[in-house]
Symmetry: C3
Subunit: 446 residues, 3 copies
C-alpha cells in the first residue's frame, strides 16, 4: 500500500503504527472493510457525543437546584453513569440485545458471545448503547433532587440500568421485541430513553414527596430558583451538542449520508423551535421571557424530535418542536397544580415530550422515509398513530409499575428520603461532608 | 454485502438497521457513494463543532460582564441561535446560495429546490451554513450587552440572520457573487462572519452609547470587570475547539486530507501565537499579564487565521496570529480612546481582526495553495491584496450601513436601550424576572 | 465524478469548492486515497478532542483550588498550551520524531523535512502530538498551584514542551527509541504523557514546598477545599470526553475499526470502575462518599488504562480501573503523610497511576492483541512486565532528574515561589491585577 510509506519497518510501538503495519503486511483493504471502518468510526464519535451529554445533564441539574445540594447531584450524576457502564456491560446488553423471547434477551452476558444487530464493531455498538442507558438513568436524578438519599439513588441506578431500561430497549430496538414486530417506530428513543427516564422519575417523586417549602399550607407552589443559570445554560448547550450524536448516530451507518444529514437538521430545527415557542408561551402568560423555561423548551424540542427525526421533513420538525415548547410550559404548570415537585422539570421535558414525540411519528411520519405506515396528516389514517400510542402506553406503564416496585422496595428498606434537618441544611454536608462553593457565602435558607 | 451479517432480517426499527438493510437490498456501495458519505459525515461533524461555539460565545460574554446582566445575555445567546436556525431555513439560505444576481439569491426558500454548491448532502451543507449564520448573529450580543432591551435584540437578530449576513455570504461564497468573481478569497469567514458581526456590533453600540459609569465625567474609561473569568476561560476553550470545525470544515471534503490537516494546524498555531503576543503586549504596557487580554488574543488569532487558513504555511500562521494579538490590545485601547463601550471586546476581536485576516491573505497567501494571485510577500505584488482590501471594505461598509438602518428603525420604534433604573439594577430582574445566582450575594453596584 | 454535480464551474471561493473542483479536474480518487483521507480525518478529530482536554484540565485545576488563585491557574493553563504548540512546532517534534540516535531526534525543526512515522498527513500527526505535549505540560500546573510565580511557570513550560517531553516520546514512540526497540509498550501514554507530567510535578513541588497552612505545626495535614466543585466536575467530564480522542486516536487508522472500538470501550469501563472504587474506598475509610475523590478516581482509571487500552479485554480494563481508584485514594494519603502538598492530586492521578497503567500492560496484556510478550496473568511470565518496569523507571527517573535541574535553575535565578504576603492575599491580584469573581464576596483566608 503506497500510502503508508513507513520508513522504519519493523516498528514496534509508535501508537498505531503496529496496527497499520500489521495490516499492510496482511492484505490491502477492500471497499467493504473501509465502509465498516467508516461506520464504526461514526458510531464511536456519536457515542462520545452521547457520553458528553452526561456533563450536560450534570450542569443542568446542578444549575437548576440550590447550591447546598450541588455536590450531591454531581455525585449522583457521576456514579449513575459509572454504574450504568458497568451494569450494562455485565447484564444490560444481554437483556436488551441477546436472543431470547419477545420480552427479554437471555444471552450475551459480559458481551461474551453477544449478538450484534448492527453492521459495526460490537464494542462500538455496545459503547453507544451504554451511553444511552446512562442517559436514561440520569434523567431521574434531577426530578428527585434535593431530598433523596445518595445510597438509595445508587440502588435505584443499578435496577434501571441493569434491568428496566434494557427490557424496554429489547421490546423496541432488539429486532426481536414484540413492539418492533408490530411496526412501532422510535428512531432514537423518545420512548425508550426519555419517556423511560421521565416516567421512572414520576414514580420516584410520588414516593418521595415534594421538598419542604415547595408548596405552601394552601398548596400553592413557591418558586425555588436554581443557584446558577450559567451552569444550566452551559448544560443545555452541551446536551444540544450531544444530541447530534444521539439522533444522527442512531442511523449507525454513514453510507446513507443524506439520511443522517436530514436527521441532524431536523434535530437542530426542533430544538430551536422549542426554545422559541416556550419563550413566547411564557412571555404571553407571565409578561416576561423566562430563561429557565426557554432552555427547557429547547430540551423539549430535542426530546420530541428524537423518535420522528428520521421520518419527517424539516418543516414538520419545526412544528413538532413548536408544540413541544408549549407542552413543556403547561406540563410544568400541571405538575405544580397536582402538587408534584420536580425541581428541574425532568418529567415535562423527558416524560411528556417523550410521549409527544412518539405520537408525532404517527402524525407526521412518511412512508417514503422508511416508516411502516403513512402518518395521519399524510392520509395514512390512524394505523401508525395507533401503534405508536399502544407502544408508548405499554412502555411507560411498564416503567412506571416496575420502578414503583423498585422505589417501594428501597423506601421500605433503606428509605428514600433524607431527614428534615439534613434537607434544610443541604445534602452536601451530611451526605458527602463537603460544600460545592468553599469560600463563598451561600444562603441555604429557601 | 458480507460485512452486514444481519441476523434477524427482516427487522423493522433497530435504529438504523432499516437504513442498512434497505440499502443492502438495493445494491452494493460504490466508491463514489462512500466518498460522498464520508464528506457528508465530515461536514456534519464540523457543523456540530460550529454549533458548540454558541456555548463558547455564551460563556465568554457572560463571564466578561457583570452578574446582574447574565440571564439577559444567556437568553440573547440562546434565542439568536434559535432565530438564526429558523430564519436561515426559511429565507437566509435562499438569499445566500440561491440562483439570482451577483448581489442576492432569489430561490430556494424553505430549502425547497434549493441549489447545493457543495459535494455533500444539502441538509449537511445547510446545517453547517446555518451554524455560521448563528455565529455572526451572536457576536453582536456581547458588544451591546448590559444595556440593550431583549425585545429589540430579538428584532435585530431576525434582520441579520435573514437578510444582511446572507447577502454578504452571497457575494463571497455562493459561487455567483460579484466579489468571488473578482478573486476575493475568504476561506472560512474572517470577513463574511467575523467582520460582519464586528461591524454590525459597531453600528449597534454607536446607537446605543456607553454603559452608565463606563466613562468618567472627563471621558476617562473605567474598568468594569467581568463577574466570572472561569466561565469566560471555558468559553474561549470551547470557541477554540469549535474553530476546528469552523475552519477545517469549510474544506467540505476529506478527499484532500492534507489540506484539512494544514488548516487545522494553522488554526491552532495562530490562536497560540495570538494568546502569547497579547499577553506580552499587555505585560510590557501595564506590567502584568492580563488573563482577559490573553484570552481575547487567542480569539483574535483565531479570527485572523480564518480567511487565510488554507492559503498559508504554519510559520506564516504564527506571524498572522502574533500580529492579531497586538491588534486586539491596541484595538481595545482605541475604542476606549474614542469612548466606544464594547464590554467584551467583540469589535477588536471580530471586527478589526476580521479585517486583518482578510488582508493577510493578500500578504502571505500562496498561489500553490489555491489562491488566485501570489501574495505580496511572495513577490505577487499588490493584486491579491488590492482585491482583499476592496472586498473587506465593501462588506464592512454594506454591513455598517444596512445595520445602522436596522438599529435606527428599532431605536425609533421600540427603543434600543433599557431605562436608567433598569440598567443600574441589572437587566435580569426587570427583563426576565430572575437572577443568575440565586442564594449568592452579588454586589450589583458598579 | 458523478457525485460532485457542480453547477457553477468554474467557481472560485465557495469554501472548499475550489478543492473539490480542482480535484475533480485532475483524476478520480482511488481507494487508497480515500483511506488516507479517512485516517487523517480520524486523527484530526482525535486531536481536537485532546485539545479540548486542556479546558478539562483548566476547570479541574481551577475548581479544586481557592478562588483567590483562579485567574493565575487559568492563565497558566492557557499559556502552557500556547507555548507547547509553538515550541513543539519549532523543535519538540524534531527531537521526538526526527531521525537521530536512540536517545533523541535531530532533524525536522519547524516541521521542515520532518519524518512522518504515521500513515496520515504530517500536519494531522503533528497536531495530535502537539496536543499530547500540551497535556503533559499542563499536568504540572495543578500540583504547583496557589504558590508558584507565573513568570517561572512560563519558563518551566518551555523546557518541558521543547525538550524533556519530546525526549521521552522519542524513546517510546518514534520507532527509533531505545525503549521501543526493547519491546516497551505504552499505547497512548500512561508513561510518556501522564507519568512524565506527574513526576515533573513531583520534582516541582519538592522545590516549592507546601502552601502556607497546609500542614499544622505538628505536621498534620489540613483540608483546603476547592472553591467550585461544579467547575471541577465539568472538567472531569471534559477530560473523560477528550480521552476518547487520546486513547482511540492513538490507533491512527480507522481501517482497524474493531481495535478502536475495543480501545474506546476499555477507556470508558476503566474510568467508570475507577470512580466507583475510589468512592467505595473513601466511603469505607471515612464514612462518606467524597465527590473530589470519586472524580479523581475516574481520572485515575483513565490514566491507568492509557498504556494497556489496546492490549487488554473489557473485563481486564474494569480490574485495572478498580485498582487505579484504590491507588489514587492511598496516593493522596501517602503524600499527606510525607508532607508533600499537591492541591489537586495530580501526582497520585497522573504519576502513580501512570506507573500502574504501564505495569498493567505486563500483567494483563495479550499477545493476540499485538503485544510483544504475553502478560504475566496469561502465562507469559515476567518478560513483558520486566520491560515495562524498566521502561517506566527509566522515563520517570529521567524526567525527575532533568526537571529537578530545570526547577533548580529557575529557583536560583527568578525564584519559584511568590512572597508570603502575595500567597496569603492570593496570586490573582499581585500577579495579574484582577479577580476571578468580581462582584462576589470571596473569603480569601484559608
Amino acid at each position: 500500500m503506497r500510502f503508508l510509506r513507513l520508513r522504519w519497518l519493523p516498528v514496534l510501538f509508535v501508537p498505531g503504527i503496529l496496527l497499520i503495519s500489521s495490516h499492510a503486511l496482511a492484505a490491502d483493504l477492500t471497499l467493504d472493510e473501509v465502509v465498516r471502518g467508516l461506520d464504526t468510526l461514526w458510531v464511536l464519535i456519536a457515542a462520545f457525543l452521547v457520553f458528553f451529554m452526561q456533563a450536560g445533564f450534570g450542569m443542568v441539574e446542578a444549575g437548576f437546584i440550590r447550591a447546598k445540594n450541588t455536590v450531591n447531584i454531581l455525585m449522583k450524576n457521576f456514579i449513575d453513569y459509572g454504574v450504568a457502564s458497568i451494569m450494562f456491560f455485565i447484564m444490560g446488553y444481554a437483556f436488551m440485545f441477546g436472543n431470547g423471547s419477545g420480552f427479554i434477551g437471555t444471552e450475551g452476558f459480559g458481551l461474551s458471545n453477544a449478538p450484534n444487530p448492527s453492521g459495526v464493531s460490537l464494542y462500538a455498538f455496545f459503547l453507544f448503547q451504554a451511553a444511552f442507558c446512562g442517559a436514561a438513568a440520569t434523567i431521574v436524578a434531577g426530578a428527585m433532587s434535593e431530598r433523596m438519599k445518595f445510597r438509595s439513588y445508587l440502588m435505584y441506578t443499578v435496577f434501571i440500568s441493569a434491568v428496566v431500561y434494557p427490557i424496554v430497549g429489547h421490546w423496541v430496538w432488539s429486532g426481536a421485541g414484540w413492539l418492533s414486530s408490530m411496526g412501532f417506530a422510535d428512531f432514537a428513543g423518545s420512548t425508550v430513553v426519555h419517556a423511560t427516564g421521565g416516567f421512572a422519575a414520576l414514580a420516584g417523586v410520588l414516593f418521595l414527596g415534594p421538598r419542604i417549602g415547595k408548596f405552601g399550607p394552601d398548596g400553592s407552589p413557591r418558586a425555588v430558583p436554581g443557584h446558577s443559570l450559567p451552569l444550566a445554560a452551559l448544560g443545555v448547550f452541551i446536551l444540544w451538542f450531544g444530541w447530534f450524536g444521539f439522533n444522527p448516530g442512531s442511523a449507525l451507518a454513514v453510507s446513507n449520508g443524506e439520511k443522517i444529514a436530514l436527521i441532524a437538521t431536523n434535530t437542530n430545527l426542533a430544538a430551536a423551535a422549542g426554545a422559541i415557542s416556550a419563550m413566547i408561551t411564557v412571555w404571553i402568560k407571565y409578561g416576561k421571557p423566562d430563561l429557565s423555561m426557554t432552555m427547557n423548551g429547547a430540551l423539549a424540542g430535542l426530546v420530541a424530535i428524537t423518535a420522528p427525526c428520521a421520518f419527517v421533513m424539516p418543516g414538520e420538525a419545526i412544528v413538532i418542536g413548536l408544540i413541544a415548547g408549549i407542552i413543556v410550559v403547561y406540563g410544568v404548570l400541571f405538575l405544580d397544580y397536582v402538587r408534584i415537585d420536580d425541581p428541574v422539570g425532568a418529567i415535562p421535558v423527558h416524560g411528556f415530550n417523550g410521549v409527544w414525540g412518539t405520537l408525532a411519528v404517527g402524525l407526521f411520519g412518511h412512508r417514503s422515509l422508511g416508516l411502516a405506515h403513512e402518518g395521519l396528516f399524510h392520509g395514512g389514517g390512524l394505523t401508525q398513530l395507533g401503534i405508536q400510542a399502544l407502544g408508548v402506553a405499554a412502555c411507560t406503564l411498564f416503567v412506571f409499575v416496575s420502578m414503583s416496585a423498585v422505589f417501594y422496595f428501597i423506601h421500605s428498606t433503606f428509605g428514600l428520603r433524607v431527614s428534615r434537618d439534613e434537607e434544610l441544611r443541604g445534602l452536601d454536608i451530611d451526605e458527602h461532608g463537603m460544600e460545592a462553593y468553599s469560600g463563598f457565602q451561600v444562603f441555604t435558607t429557601q
